[in-house]
């Protein structure tokens, strides 16, 4: 592993995009940054601007409205970018898969690098998923 990929793995900055979800996965993602399951000790920071992000966390099923915005956000991020789909809605559409406004789970819209299933996934599961992503 070269110097560049070592530095990339040790400092991942996360941007959270919430699709049309029930917001439980949002709460669990924010839970990972609280003192109990502290993620900053791995160098992971939550950033506010997509131009600073290395990992795009997408949760929620994607609406027809959200689809263009997700594609725009994906193109605004500087590459290399890793995309993680969180929750049952992000992976397959979950309970929203039969609705009229459903525009496909996340991997129909942008390429995904890791899937973290669960409804909602526990913070430990999210951490395990991020570790698997980093070690890939």
């Amino acid at each position: 592993m070269g110097f560049k990929s070592y530095c990339f793995k040790k400092s991942l900055w996360v941007f959270h995009f919430g699709g049309a979800s029930c917001n439980n996965c949002d709460i669990e993602i924010l839970d990972c940054l609280t003192p109990r399951h502290d993620l900053e000790r791995f160098g992971i920071l939550l950033v506010g601007s997509i131009r600073h992000a290395d990992v795009l966390l997408v949760n929620g099923s994607i609406n027809t409205h959200d689809k263009e915005r997700l594609i725009e956000i994906y193109e605004q991020a500087p590459k290399p970018l890793l995309v993680v789909a969180i929750g049952a809605c992000g992976c397959t559409g979950g309970i929203f898969a039969d609705s009229i406004t459903f525009a496909g789970p996340v991997d129909k819209v942008i390429p995904v690098d890791a899937y973290i299933p669960g409804c909602p996934p526990k913070p430990e599961a999210i951490i395990a998923g991020i570790v698997k992503l980093v070690n890939k």
Partner: protein
Amino acid sequence: MAVDLFYFLVFPGLLFAGITGGFLSWFDRKLTARVQFRKGPPLLQPFYDFFKLLLVKETILPKHGSPVTFLLAPVFSVFGATMAGVFILLPLFNITTGFRGDLLVIFYLLTIPSFSYIIGSLASGNPLAAVGGSREMKLILSYELTFLLVIAGVIMKCGQQFDLHSIIKTQQAASPFIGSVSGVLLFIVAVFCIQAKLALVPFDMPEAEAEITEGIFIEYSGASYAFIKLTKYIMLFILPSLLAAILLGGFRLDGIHILWSILKVLGIVLLLTLIRNTNPRIKIKQAVSFFLIWMNLIAVIAIVLIAFGY
């Protein structure tokens, strides 16, 4: 000529100030984590961040706005911070004696990073960045006068001498200026001015407002953002060093005094971090009235006390 390049680029210049600033930034993040009952990042985390931004991420230029100014602004801010750092640290480490009036040159050079942030944010063509830029402008208008009053107070106390070397020597011959009542008042005012200059909470409204979409730096990515981070690391080192030089008696580099010198800088960074972690972010008009009314009042009281000899 070669000696000057060495001073600028290596020893108290870019390399030394960058590395020390990186360690101080780690200290700030680790202390923040401990205050919040969590563990913090590992020791080399600021350097991982810097190298990841410099080497791995690509730099995206904005479509609207001017790309040349956008890319030159971080270069100017690194240059300004390094120049100010060299002029502060050379008399502080007793390498040269500076020149007459270099305190005022340092004061002007320290405004270059803030101005380049504003120019860069306005060149990025993003309305949120423009809001952040206008907030930074208002913040500069308010704290610069107060900082100048602190410097004026220190110059008065030292018998009308304008260079940093003689201010340090006066304090080391007698007692540090903070030992007097007016020194304590000037120190309190100066800590708040540094908090605003470094854009730390409670004064970080240009940077993280536009609600957490990172205000003035919203369009920066990759190598240009790496230079902005480098500027912040350098400023986190040189501003507490300037405060240690004008109010706390400077550094003495023999024997046990090396430990006291390190503790002076770490103590000021500790104070900045603790203020950062216990306060909410305030609105820009509250910040303007805080500096223009209350801090100026305290600084003027301190100057009056100096004129009477306290």
